[in-house]
């Protein structure tokens, strides 16, 4: 069921060339004990919601009801839901297949860096012309005293 849940949350986008979460390496991600626990706890809550509200298995629901079931979990157990959602984002947005498509610049292990546009420091002219007037006379006095 977890693959179907992940796909519902991150179905991917062909136009943007983003993969579905169900196509990514979930097994490696959930080797971490904390994430495993988060997924297990969420699936327990989801199973409860499916029994009480939908009286159906997750796989038998249409796309709209799948999302509705997931969102119901937020009301049922916000802590378990938010913990799970955080892990979903960590899982999806740390996968190399996703990062390679997003506009994230150089992807670790960083064979190259990122170029930022050259600065034109004329932009500081107003600051220099104004000086440090903001602090008032008291500070100027202290500066004169060398405090």
């Amino acid at each position: 069921m977890i693959e179907q849940v992940l796909h519902t949350i991150h179905p991917g986008d062909k136009t943007l060339e983003l993969p579905s979460a169900s196509e990514l390496d979930f097994d490696s991600y959930q080797e971490n004990e904390l994430s495993k626990l988060a997924f297990e706890q969420f699936l327990e809550v989801l199973s409860l919601v499916l029994r009480e509200k939908f009286k159906s298995d997750f796989g038998d629901l249409n796309d709209k009801d799948r999302m509705s079931a997931i969102n119901h979990c937020k009301i049922k157990d916000f802590r378990a839901f938010s913990n799970f959602i955080e892990h979903c984002f960590r899982f999806y947005y740390s996968d190399i297949k996703v990062l390679s498509v997003l506009n994230v610049g150089s992807v670790p292990p960083f064979p190259r860096g990122n170029a930022l546009s050259k600065d034109n420091w004329e932009i500081l002219k107003p600051v220099l012309e104004r000086g440090y007037a903001c602090a008032g006379e008291k500070i100027n006095l202290i500066r004169k005293q060398g405090a």
Binding site: T8, I9, H10, P11, G12, D13, L16, L18, N32, L34, D63, M67, I70, N71, I85, E86, F89, R90, Y92, Y93, S94, D95, I96, V98, L99, L102, N103, V104, G105, S106, V107, P108, P109, F110, R112, G113, N114, A115, L116, S117, K118, D119, W121, I123, L124, P126, V127, L128, R130, G131, Y132, C134, A135, G136, K138, I139, I142, R143, G146, A147
Partner: protein
Amino acid sequence: MSKQDFADVVIVGSGASGAAAAWSLSRNTSLRIVCLEQGRSIDKSKYPTTSSDWELGRYGDFSPFPGVRNSTVDYPIDDSDSPISIAQFNGVGGSTILYSGHFPRFRPSDFKVNTIDGVADDWPIDYSDLEPFFEENEKIMGIAGMVGDPAYPSYHSLLPPVPLGEMGKAVAQAFNKLDWHWWPSYSAISTKEYNPFDELIRSPCLNLGPCNTGCPQSAKGSVDVTYLPLAIANGVEIYTECRACEIVLNKDGVADGVIYVDSHGVKKHIEAGVVIVACSGIGTPRLLLNSKSSLFPNGLLNNNDLVGRYLTLHPLAYTEGVFKEDLKSSLGPHGCCLYSQEFYETREEHNFVRGYTMHILRGATPVESAISGYFMRRLTLGKSHHNQFNKHFNHTAGIAVIAEDLPDAHNRVELDYSNKDASGMPGVKIHYKMNENTENILKHGMEKSKELFLVADADIVSSFAPIKNTGWHTSGTVRMGEDPNTSVVNKYGQAHEVENLFIVDSSIFVTAGGSILLPLPRPLHYFVVTIFLAILIKLPRVYD
């Protein structure tokens, strides 16, 4: 317990202050200097940013929170009685491994808040005492920035500034429209290859972004790539995974050395001519409070119940703006872009004294963008998510308002005997409340941050204070002063009551300033070097 190890100087802690202390004393190569570090030496090839899932490191071994890292080298910190969680890192280099590298100096007024504003206490030293040491510190750490800042007229030489990027330019233009002060950040980041000494060669920054999980390029000036290589070349020895648990005194009340537990759990005693403590505003009072004797039954130097009190944390407010354009805002050193001290000093029209720094942060990383975007209701789940994310990621900027936190005796660190570390030493319990002045500073900072984003034509998506996970800047818990009744150490960091015991970290700050703490402990340390050497001459070397 064996007692066969001797050193002229034992330094507890290899972070920002301990590393600088080690190096400056090591220039006298006749001294044997040992640095005790409870953490491990960090292998740069293991930094999270060496793999594509680097953001996950923030939730594991490279989290700034000991409770998340769950490592035997950390100690328990119960901060449930504080709106701000304590952040720190234990390892060779200390918390500089994970800091962002922002590196502005304290300002002259920071040392005189009582004289200027009638609050708290003045420091027993002032800006002019430390100015030469600021310059030396900046040379070793390799500070990028721009000379000519009207708020800091005394800078003479800096590496080229970190690039503003498109987002930085957009925010800078908004500052200009409002006629507010701003300037490129002072950053401990080598913006070109930096080689001030043969032992130090630092690669230029590649504008990757994630400085605060460790910089594998060594472009960020953490002390493991600045002071410590110099100190080690001069013969300083670092004992890693060695946790200092007690400073011991002899019958005359002179520090006799340090008891520590090594990586095998064996308790050892190293004798010392001088003991220097540099464990941060939390770790330093912990060690002192755990060092009880007949002379100091309530903890070393604590007969006046001052050790652990006056904790300051620099509460932060955060406001996030989203620009319509893709400004590639996540690229570049995350914590270093530009800053403003427009509202740093007291003004008559404010309902608070002192003030704050506005610190412009680059856009959030992919995982952070998704999490904050979802919980701030900018992003949904399902089919629409990907398009929404595309319009959010790389479009954001953050403003952190760093408030000057005035000291309060009720805010304190105490030992927590119910939570102990792997060696059996008590952890710490934090008691901290923000005062009304700080709350008013944060409110004002959020209003001004919103004003700035409105002028920049960015949507404001969140604004809140205090930010829970920002307790990096811990200070004030072993305060300095002239009067032994109201302070623990003198202006040289020397304990009033134990002449060969020195504290050199931010715990001796009298007040916290309204910016970053890190640039100050090192100059403070240099200031006290002369007195260290005088003491060393006076005391017999322990192994003579």
